[in-house]
Symmetry: D2
Subunit: 117 residues, 4 copies
């Protein structure tokens, strides 16, 4: 692949917004709302499922969820773009922060380490 | 770059979870919740800002938001991975669906096209 | 009790906003964001818990969650107020809609009735 | 009114869940997800609106939003009930905390007081 997928999606979204004159609606505030709205739709697919059921979706539901995840990604990439945030770089930096915050030997098998450290 | 950023992050998260034995917590249900929780944190940065203020963040806030966007991305990539969803492929497919749903000539400058068509 | 709790909270919030000149920030758009942000905080308390653990919170966590639920309620009541929506009336009407949508005999023990009917 | 609206809704929801044998799905974890999902639906109504537009909804949209707020309230009341949290009491306690945290004279007209104090 010649182009990174994140960059490809970012460029597609730029064109998409330009062709529709939607830049005026794509303020960070509005895009943050759209991102949260789509995350809410992801959650609705899982809310009545047990942990086990959530890991064994039927094909139809799995495809619906895939497109909801795509929606989250589209707004995430677009929001990062209008904020001039390099998403891949931010993700790498956050991974490094998390690695320091949750040392493997101390965090092993403990989910409370996520939010109580 | 030799490796796509999404794949790189996915692989880092796999290693991260493995080293901490966190796979047991990473059910799709739990990860969907974490994704929504992080989207909620993004929103909290913007809730009292005007549209204009949201587009002119000071450096400190912009960096905080960048790391929140990174959190959303990390959970999004991880959730897609445990569901065996190809995120880049899903995003491309959703872009194609949106292009058909919102034809440029009809959707121009109309935000209602997003949710009322 | 001489006054309905919802009305009491609504009136307290009106006074609170007035005394701080916060009416200018309390647009429906901003309050909807605040509501979603607080719902995100509720979720963060439960994301790594099993169903069983979520039903057996220790006292400290339960009190933290109680105050998060309070935050959701405060923004919900305030948002309804600025929209001039009667929350108790809307809840009663929605309950009646749900009763018709999910007849007890057909919906018994089926969670899919929630979103697939 | 002889009965507080919050108690009335709580009791209706108890009956509703009992008649449908839905108690098994109403774990705090699941209800927290449903609450966040509904808050996401509220947000979707406002995401492309300006602050001004959000304060001047047409009748159709306002009624749609009223029923979304009702959904948030139903899950909020139900979640509080299964956690044995007194919602009205928690709201009052949170209001008292906020009054101390944001003294009227210092917080006047400053939205940053919400999250930066």
């Amino acid at each position: 692949m010649s182009k990174d997928a994140l960059h490809e999606v970012r460029d597609s979204l730029r064109r998409f917004a330009e062709e529709r004159d939607w830049g005026q609606f794509h303020t960070p505030k509005n895009l943050a709302m759209a991102l949260a709205g789509e995350a809410g739709e992801v959650i609705e697919h899982f809310q009545w499922l047990s942990a086990e059921q959530s890991a064994a979706l039927d094909d139809r539901t799995r495809e619906e969820v895939a497109l909801e995840l795509a929606d989250v990604m589209l707004y995430l990439v677009r929001l990062a773009d209008v904020l001039e945030v390099d998403l891949a770089d931010a993700a790498r930096r956050k991974l490094a922060i998390n690695a320091e915050r949750y040392p493997a030997d101390k965090a092993r098998g403990r989910s409370d380490k996520y939010h109580r450290l």
